[in-house]
């Protein structure tokens, strides 16, 4: 094998890209699923993702340990989620608008504190070479799977089971479907929603750490460019189901990898149009899956966005 695959390099690069690019989208959409299942929407996860990327990178640079970075990113994400949750518990406060403000604040704080960390290099998160059986470098590159991707799959499975079969899952669903029913059961919806938003923020933080510590693997101000927002839109497409989030994230990862893959075989025409592919796909999916007349199947009853 010469390593020259011609056009075959494109689907291979898209597959590898799907695995690489999808991980942060998967984490954010899982976190947002948790939050939205409790009846609240957090549009600020874009800001959480960027701040998580900065916090994780900075921690890894200072400690030399990428896993410490992941932990700090998760904690920072939880704090952002907690702030969102607590503010939204106040009367008459609009959760969508708070999300926009948190997006602005999160990216602002990330750029502010991240300035000194644009230059230094942080240690990468480890990955597992599943492509060891092949001697084609492109295959090896495509199947070099990061540990966090596997963790994301595990998290999707655990959430899928947890939402259906456990008591906390049931409580979350009751709160999300009817505030009145939850109150009648003696639950405190505001507290549970705040906790769900904090946990969702932690997921988004981990997604951010993946961005800066594995792929693209460095910290800069253009690191996310809307991936957090796409992941939020994706949750609607995934019908608030964690397992669907996984497939949707893979699809979007593949769309995001299309531009660079075509560029690698020499197609440079329309690079920016391919760059827009994930946004167009998200919008198309939103249009196809929304409906003006009926409530969306599987939508939590208390969710402001689908009411």
């Amino acid at each position: 094998m010469e390593g020259d695959l011609g056009w075959w390099a494109v689907p291979l690069a898209v597959l590898g890209g799907a695995i690489r690019v999808s991980t942060p989208i998967l984490f954010v959409s899982l976190g947002e699923t948790l939050t939205e299942r409790s009846g609240r929407i957090n549009l600020g996860l874009e800001g959480t993702l960027v701040f998580g990327a900065m916090a994780g990178y900075a921690t890894a640079v200072m400690t030399g340990n990428p896993w410490a970075g992941v932990l700090v990113a998760a904690l920072a994400g939880a704090v952002f989620g907690l702030v969102h949750g607590l503010i939204c518990s106040m009367a008459k406060v609009n959760d969508i608008a708070i999300g926009i403000a948190m997006m602005l604040l999160g990216t602002g704080l990330a750029f502010y504190f991240g300035k000194p960390f644009i230059q230094p290099a942080a240690p990468d998160l480890p990955s597992i070479p599943f492509g060891w059986w092949s001697d084609v470098p492109q295959v090896q590159a495509a199947l070099n799977v990061n540990v966090l991707f596997l963790a994301g799959i595990a998290a999707a499975l655990v959430l899928h089971w947890g939402l259906r079969a456990t008591k906390p899952g049931l409580i979350l669903r009751v709160v999300g479907d009817s505030t009145d029913a939850a109150r009648a059961m003696g639950l405190r919806p505001a507290v549970i929603r705040t906790m769900a938003t904090a946990l969702g923020g932690a997921f988004a933080g981990v997604g951010g750490a993946y961005l800066s510590l594995f792929y693209p693997g460095s910290w800069n101000e253009g690191i996310s460019s809307g991936q957090g927002l796409m992941a939020v839109a994706l949750v609607i497409f995934a019908r608030w189901q964690p397992l669907n989030c996984f497939w949707a994230a893979l699809l979007f990862g593949g769309a995001g990898a299309l531009g660079p893959a075509l560029q690698s075989v020499g197609v440079t025409q329309g690079y920016y149009l391919f760059y827009a592919a994930p946004y167009v796909l998200t919008l198309g999916v939103l249009i196809a899956t929304s409906s003006p007349n009926r409530a969306l199947a599987g939508a939590p009853g208390e969710l402001s966005i689908t009411k």
Partner: protein
């Protein structure tokens, strides 16, 4: 102002107080946000006094800084309207940046065949093209909302990302001026197609049009039956439909109108500031416009002072970076904190003891 009003009306003091509430609460929220930001600066070992001193100096301290501030206020006025107009219908549109970028691009592209045409014909054509493109772009978010039930907040922001990609594609490809080497741009505008300065000022005409647009928006919302219908629909869509109001046409109309304002901002950025369309169009005015609209409670007249204030922070940013060695994201942190404060203040309406009717 509110206090004076209360004293003048005397007997109707209670009514005046209630009218002052929507002014006093945002002002208090703004001050609270600035106070929290001052604490943030203290934790960074920086002096808030020095910071606000430089803001004053860089934004409002001299004729030169006033000109700088007002130049930046021009696009912000129009970008804020892109949020404020749909907001009266209860829509949260945050993708104004996309309409600015595509509006500017349309103006820049149209300037090429219009070279040599008299200004009196060419400039209005360019402005109209920019407004039409902006209206279509944001109107799309409105149409998707009305006909497909797609959330307009998410769709408008996605459309903004798509718009920027489209602009990059066209500016680096079909519309690129071969002479623009380092920064791909459309061909420079012909002399006759450039917008000049306001008489006696170093601020371009965009400011006058921005102010005019804000006043018109206020008149439309507060003094016409369309505005009245929009406010009804913003309060309760079903009630408006039962009343026979054309909710769909209102949504399309107000989102398109907002987009036209943002497109016009793009036109002025190209024809009065940059001289050609390029990546500088995506300067973040659309995002600052969101904050301005919320601070002004989506009132066209209130947008005027708020936009000047935020433009002032923007204008002093360079001075603060140089003198205090703070990162350029400092202003974004400030904006984020103020935004949070203003949204949290929504919980205060009807609750402050000062505004409660006594007896």
């Amino acid at each position: 102002m509110a206090v004076v009003e209360a004293q003048v009306t005397g007997g109707g003091a209670m009514a005046a107080l209630r009218r002052a509430e929507p002014v006093v609460i945002p002002v208090l929220a703004l001050l609270a946000g600035l106070a929290v930001f001052a604490l943030f600066l203290l934790t960074q070992g920086q002096s808030p006094a020095a910071f606000f001193g430089y803001v004053w100096q860089g934004a409002f301290g001299s004729v030169f800084s006033w000109m700088n501030t007002l130049s930046r206020a021009a696009p912000l006025l129009l970008a804020a309207l892109c949020v404020a107009l749909p907001a009266r219908l209860g829509l949260v549109v945050i993708g104004g940046e996309g309409a600015i970028v595509l509006g500017g691009l349309a103006a820049g592209a149209l300037a090429l065949p219009l070279a040599g045409v008299p200004s009196a014909v060419g400039l209005p054509l360019m402005a109209l093209a920019a407004m039409a493109v902006g209206a279509v772009w944001i109107g799309m978010a409105g149409a998707l909302r009305h006909y497909r039930g797609v959330n307009e907040t998410i769709s408008s922001l996605l459309l903004a990302y798509i718009a920027i990609a489209l602009m990059n594609h066209l500016v680096e490809g079909p519309l690129r001026d071969p002479a623009s080497l380092n920064k791909p741009s459309t061909a420079p505008l012909a002399d006759g197609l450039q917008v000049g300065m306001l008489p006696g000022m170093e601020v371009h005409w965009g400011l006058a049009f921005g102010i005019l647009a804000c006043i018109l928006a206020w008149v439309v919302i507060e003094r016409t039956r369309w505005g009245f219908a929009a406010r009804i629909a913003g309060g309760n869509v079903r009630a408006a439909e039962v009343q026979g109001l054309p909710v769909g046409r209102l949504i399309l109309g107000f989102t398109a109108l907002g987009g036209a304002c943002a497109g016009l901002a793009g036109f002025f950025e190209v024809a009065a500031v940059h001289g050609s369309a390029n990546a500088s169009l995506a300067a973040g005015y659309g995002y600052t416009g969101i904050l301005i609209a919320f601070l002004a409670r989506h009132n066209g007249l209130a947008i005027l002072p708020v936009a000047v204030l935020l433009a002032g922070f923007d204008a002093s940013s360079g001075l603060i970076q140089r003198r205090m060695d703070l990162p350029d994201a400092t202003m974004q942190v400030l904006q984020g904190i103020v935004f949070m404060a203003i949204l949290m203040s929504d919980a205060a309406y009807g609750r402050l003891p000062f505004f409660k009717a006594r007896g």
